[in-house]
Symmetry: C2
Subunit: 226 residues, 2 copies
């Protein structure tokens, strides 16, 4: 019981800080996407391709990079013109709202349209931590196998969009993409799905359009509320 109570206390404190983060993001009018996946599904490569395409789309990005160790991903993001901050969890298996809150002061939200939070590579623990984002985006690499949604249901249930990445590997592996899309629809009928090869560019236009449309919807809704 003690364990459960501590867990509940951690979650409730996380919810409180996530709400404050969400308010800060809303005030700045930025769309915030929390990217979650296994290690090596291509979150950073997706960000690289996104940053390459953002100027032409008239969009400005900031990136919060979460990792157990190293600043490798932030260095990659910076090489593609991105700016942002690195959070190293030092063993921690997910980002928390508190970790995000602590770096918010170092981000110039007024100079951004979209904030990407690249979570720690983990398909389980980040699923249940709200960081104050507008949407969770789950990535699944085709190389991970087509049995994963049902084996890791929570993150697919919590996500607004599923990016099926590394479609360029489809000719070389056994991955039934239609089966995966069906299983995601069973777990979460409202979850949108995009087929993407972040490396080769396939599906990237649809991804950029999806972001632009979510941003427009958020700003429209804020206008009506204000």
């Amino acid at each position: 019981m003690a364990k459960v109570n501590v867990q509940e206390k951690i979650q409730s404190e996380n919810e409180r800080v996530a709400a404050a983060n969400r308010a800060a993001f809303a005030k700045a009018g930025v769309l915030v996407l929390n990217l979650v996946s296994s290690p090596g599904s291509g979150k950073t490569t997706l960000l690289e391709g996104t940053l390459d395409r953002f100027p032409a789309a008239g969009l400005r990005a900031l990136v919060i990079e979460g990792d157990v160790c190293t600043a490798r991903d932030l260095e990659r993001v910076k090489a593609h013109g991105g700016s942002g901050v690195q959070i190293n969890t030092g063993g921690g298996c997910h980002l928390s709202a508190q970790m995000v809150s602590e770096v918010l002061g170092r981000l110039d939200l007024a100079a951004a349209d979209v904030v990407f939070i690249e979570n720690v590579g983990n398909l389980i623990c980040p699923s249940t931590y709200d960081l104050g984002e507008d949407a969770k985006v789950v990535l699944l690499s085709t190389a991970e196998g087509d049995d994963k949604p049902m084996k890791y249901p929570t993150i697919f249930h919590e996500s607004t969009l599923a990016v099926l990445n590394k479609t360029d590997l489809l000719p070389y592996i056994a991955f039934d993409i239609a089966k995966v899309e069906k299983e995601i629809a069973v777990l979460n009928p409202r979850c949108e799905i995009l087929r993407v090869s972040a490396l080769r560019g396939e599906g990237m236009d649809a991804w950029i359009s999806w972001i632009a449309s979510r941003l427009a919807a958020k700003r429209q809704s804020a206008k009506r509320a204000g």
Copy 2:
């Protein structure tokens, strides 16, 4: 502080049960390998190929399958002649010694030489939980990218063997296998490394030999002690 104390208590209780598991495994003279990796690195495919080769090597296996949800992996193992038990953590991100202890009574250890514990797909949380195994074996799929050991150092530090799996995909991806081997050696100079394609069979003989040699060493050492 409360959080730290609870974590310490959980870990110390886990150590106690792990020691009891280890004693039960030692009494039965079985070698126990704890397989850890990201989702979709090929743990179950490695087990399928292992079970196919065990009879010719004169070895008998039991499998403890850990997953958040579904019994899909145990079904695959059974289709290759394996027998064992499924543990569903129901959201939990790693197996614990207690979970293993609870299923030990359902395993006929006397009829096995090797027990494989397939941990939940997660490169972080299982790293620090001793289940009573003789060795942790970490799998890394080439499709996950060659930057992973330094980003997830704990599991490479804790493992006795690293299996670099899906070498069949090397022609289609950017993965510097020599760089990965060097980084693993920096993190853990005693960690052995095997290049494997569990799907195509490459490196599987070396894997079976490694198991047989670890088993012989364990039994030899028990004989000397007894």
